[in-house]
């Protein structure tokens, strides 16, 4: 009788061990899958159904303070990039080296749109980190950026010679986005 009880107890222990190891394995599996899943980027970019045509606008040049209209800017290049930036924007600092890299590409004119910024600070920022831009125009009250459909700073729009926005990047540019831009330019 006692033996029977003991055996029952032992088999129960064994069963518990099996359940425990099975659960352990299961959770390890879950962990690995979720861990891998984390590395897939899920940054959401709103889809533009039709390629938007750039509205014309007028702005001021940051340095010369001359009025300049969009028709004067988009004239002779195959591709343009509008980069919205600001001296107070922290991610813009991280992004800056990537912009310097991008500026070496001659088939693209990089235009800086200085968003809600103090011109003094903006110039200081450029002096400190270098100027990747072909031209810097100012957007003092942020209206140009809103018309572009921008959501935040920094943001980059790639525009072709027909003034169509063909690609947009939310947040700072990284290795991956540079590659994508280079693919478009080819």
């Amino acid at each position: 009788m006692k033996n029977k009880k003991k055996r029952a107890k032992d088999s129960k222990k064994k069963k518990n061990k099996i359940i425990f190891s099975a659960l352990l394995l299961f959770f390890v599996f879950c962990f690995i899958v979720l861990f891998k899943g984390l590395n897939n980027s899920n940054i959401y970019v709103p889809k533009e159904k039709t390629e938007k045509i750039l509205k014309s606008f007028t702005s001021k040049d940051l340095y010369s303070e001359n009025k300049i209209s969009s028709d004067q800017i988009f004239v002779d290049s195959e591709f343009y990039a509008i980069n919205i930036w600001s001296s107070w924007c922290v991610p813009c600092r991280e992004e800056h080296p990537k912009l310097m890299e991008l500026s070496k590409n001659k088939s693209l004119k990089l235009i800086g749109l200085n968003y809600k910024d103090n011109p003094k600070n903006a110039k200081r920022f450029i002096n400190e980190f270098g100027n990747p831009y072909f031209m810097i125009i100012t957007d003092k009250n942020g209206i140009i950026s809103i018309d572009l459909g921008a959501i935040g700073v920094p943001e980059t729009f790639i525009i072709n010679k027909d003034k169509k926005i063909i690609k947009r990047f939310l947040g700072s540019l990284n290795e991956k986005s540079l590659k994508e831009i280079n693919l478009i330019l080819k």
Binding site: N16, S41, I43, S87, V90, I146
Partner: protein, 628 residues
């Protein structure tokens, strides 16, 4: 500026106290005193106090629009109304974690002062387990998501808060939900402590039941607020979208609901002890995975939150450490405590509760699979899918029928054993009555499919049984009656709402009209005004019915300027019978507006019945507190 500094340093002080508790309580655990050292109370209080200070520091930074604080910069804007500046504090990743921490430290302090009739070792062990969670959150906050990061040069303007989140229901939705989530952490720690101390008994069940009820009430209320927000603000005309973020709050709810019932069995019969512990662990783990899934950015949904992989990895490791830790404790320490063989009869309250527990677990697994499967599939095969409502409806609705039947029969059975004789004439009468009512209704609205028909019948059956019990049993079990009655009403209103809803979508310009059923909808005029942080376009619509009674609906379009987002505010006229719902959208480069008009019967009853369910929980809680 100052508030920011104070907030940061008091957070660090709080962290210091949370570590200090551990050696002090271990020392107290091992000595022979029967009571807890007063030191522990004061340290726990200080821990809570400093988190409160830190939280108020953050609120102040938001109120003052102090953009030297990165969190404020990213989530606020000077033009935002004060109320939403404050609610912006917890509307973002960093702030919401600080709120988690606040509630965690508050709850453990309350637990300590409210559990004096429990054994000392059990209380200290609960405190220690809870402290592990608290320290985990402190580390997470300080290491990866510090809400007090400093920005220089100081920006002039913030990046604004998603305007969809500027809604009163949503402003209080996260704190309420968190109270529910965090309440489940106390249940988790205390059940682990009870396992280690072999304290799982009717005394323990009575004591932990209060915490289970509190968490359940907050969780239910929080989910309801989220759903109200979705209905009124998102403008899609529904109240539940099976969005991953919604599912994530529903999963612990299933678990907690099962727990509310099975703690009763433990209290009365000392049965299902392992099951209770497993549910306690699972509830908190599901709350944590909810936080993980939402905050790590592994899911894509209408709710956008920070996407920092480092954060995700931290929560993931933390979550799985807790899972392993609790599994290990469960398997090492847990022994079934019923040495005597207890007979279980088929026809008894406990078996019916167990059955419904299994149904709840089934619903839980459906939702869990629907939510997690896309992630697994993407990782394993690079395929992107999303699981939509039909999946959930197909798998859940048929099983609601037996669930409802058990809900109506169960409470009428006795503990231990019921005689078949007890199934008496009242029950048969209620059944016939509900059959009659369902038939009458079906005649009126037409055939709705086999499953819906049976579901209506089953829901009516529960409806009448609970009414009967409420009056005939002299209010013996009124809290249960309230909740179950509310649930039957909820199912009925959801069913009729989805069967009888009708809508029309069309493009209109000012001056045009269209007819819908017996009504004519006239687009009279639009009016646009500049508001503090958005531009508003209001459309005036008149709805005339056959008798020439007319009502006016004024849906609104809001074009927010910071960041630029267009939201449509539906105008909803609510009556007890139906909601009239009208929403308009901009058609690009056109004077036409896209107009959607819906008649949604019994909409308000969905909220009313949920409130009834919550009232049931509240009544049970008060009864419990009053007994003491």
């Amino acid at each position: 500026m100052l508030a920011n500094q104070i907030g940061y340093y008091s957070l660090i002080l709080g962290f210091f106290f949370s570590i200090l508790i551990i050696p002090v309580s271990i020392k107290n655990f091992n000595n022979k005193n029967k009571i807890i050292d007063n030191k522990i109370f004061s340290i726990s209080f200080f821990q809570f106090f400093f988190v409160v200070v830190s939280f108020f520091g953050l609120i102040l930074s938001f109120v003052n629009s102090d953009f030297s604080n990165e969190t404020v910069f990213n989530n606020s804007h000077t033009t935002k109304p004060l109320f939403y500046k404050i609610s912006g504090t917890w509307g973002n990743h960093e702030g919401s974690l600080l709120l988690w921490l606040l509630v965690l430290t508050l709850f453990i302090f309350i637990f300590l002062i409210k559990s004096t009739n429990q054994p000392k070792k059990y209380r200290i062990l609960t405190l220690l387990f809870q402290q592990v969670i608290i320290i985990g959150f402190f580390l997470f906050l300080l290491k990866t998501s510090n809400p007090f990061n400093y920005l220089f040069p100081i920006p002039k303007e913030g990046l604004g808060l998603n305007p969809i989140l500027q809604d009163p229901a949503l402003a209080i939705h996260p704190p309420i939900l968190y109270l529910g989530y965090v309440g489940s952490s106390i249940i988790f720690s205390s059940s682990l402590a009870a396992v280690v101390e072999k304290h799982i008994s009717t005394v323990w069940a009575k004591h932990i039941k209060v915490w289970i009820l509190v968490s359940w009430i907050f969780l239910t209320f929080g989910i309801m607020l989220g759903s109200i927000w979705a209905y009124y603000e998102l403008g899609w005309g529904g109240f539940w979208f099976w969005d991953p973020v919604e599912n994530v709050s529903l999963m612990p709810w299933f678990c907690l609901t099962a727990l509310v019932h099975c703690i009763l069995v433990l209290e009365k019969r000392l049965l299902l002890s392992s099951w209770t512990v497993i549910l306690s662990i699972a509830t908190f783990m599901l709350s944590m995975s909810g936080t993980f899934l939402v905050r790590s950015g592994i899911l894509n949904s209408v709710h956008t939150f920070a996407n920092d992989p480092e954060r995700g990895i931290f929560i993931l490791i933390f979550l799985f450490t807790l899972i392993f830790f609790s599994l290990a404790i469960f398997f090492i320490f847990h022994k079934e405590n019923n040495q005597k063989i207890v007979e279980i009869y088929w026809l008894s309250k406990e078996t019916s509760i167990l059955f419904n527990n299994w149904f709840l677990m089934y619903f839980l697994s459906v939702v869990l699979i629907g939510t997690v499967y896309p992630i697994f599939l993407e990782v394993l095969s690079d395929e992107k899918i999303s699981v939509g409502p039909p999946f959930y409806h197909k798998l859940i609705i048929p099983f609601l029928i037996p669930f409802l039947i058990f809900m109506s029969i169960g409470p009428n059975l006795n503990w231990i054993k019921s005689e078949v004789k007890k199934i008496n004439i009242q029950i048969i009468l209620s059944f016939l009555f509900s059959l009659l009512i369902s038939l009458l209704i079906l005649r009126k609205i037409g055939y709705v499919g086999l499953i819906n028909t049976i579901l209506i019948l089953a829901a009516f059956y529960l409806f009448f049984i609970t009414i009967k019990d409420f009056f005939l049993k002299k209010f013996k079990n009124y809290s249960q009656n309230f909740s179950h009655f509310g649930f039957s009403l909820l199912i009925l209103s959801i069913l009729f709402n989805s069967i009888l809803s009708s809508e029309k979508i069309t493009n209109l310009k000012v001056g045009e009209k269209f007819s819908f059923g017996e009504e004519t909808i006239i687009f009279e005029s639009i009016e646009s005004t500049e508001k503090k942080n958005y531009k508003s376009i209001i459309g005036y619509f008149k709805i005339k019915d056959k008798q020439n009674n007319s009502i006016q609906l004024k849906p609104e379009l809001r074009i927010y300027n910071q960041p630029i987002i267009i939201t449509s505010e539906a105008d909803i006229k609510t009556t007890l019978h139906y909601d009239k719902f009208l929403v308009m959208n901009l058609v690009k480069d056109n004077e036409y507006f896209n107009v959607r008009y819906q008649i949604k019967p019994f909409m308000i009853w969905i909220w009313i019945s949920t409130v009834l369910i919550i009232i049931g929980g509240l009544l049970s809680l008060f009864k419990k507190l009053y007994e003491k």
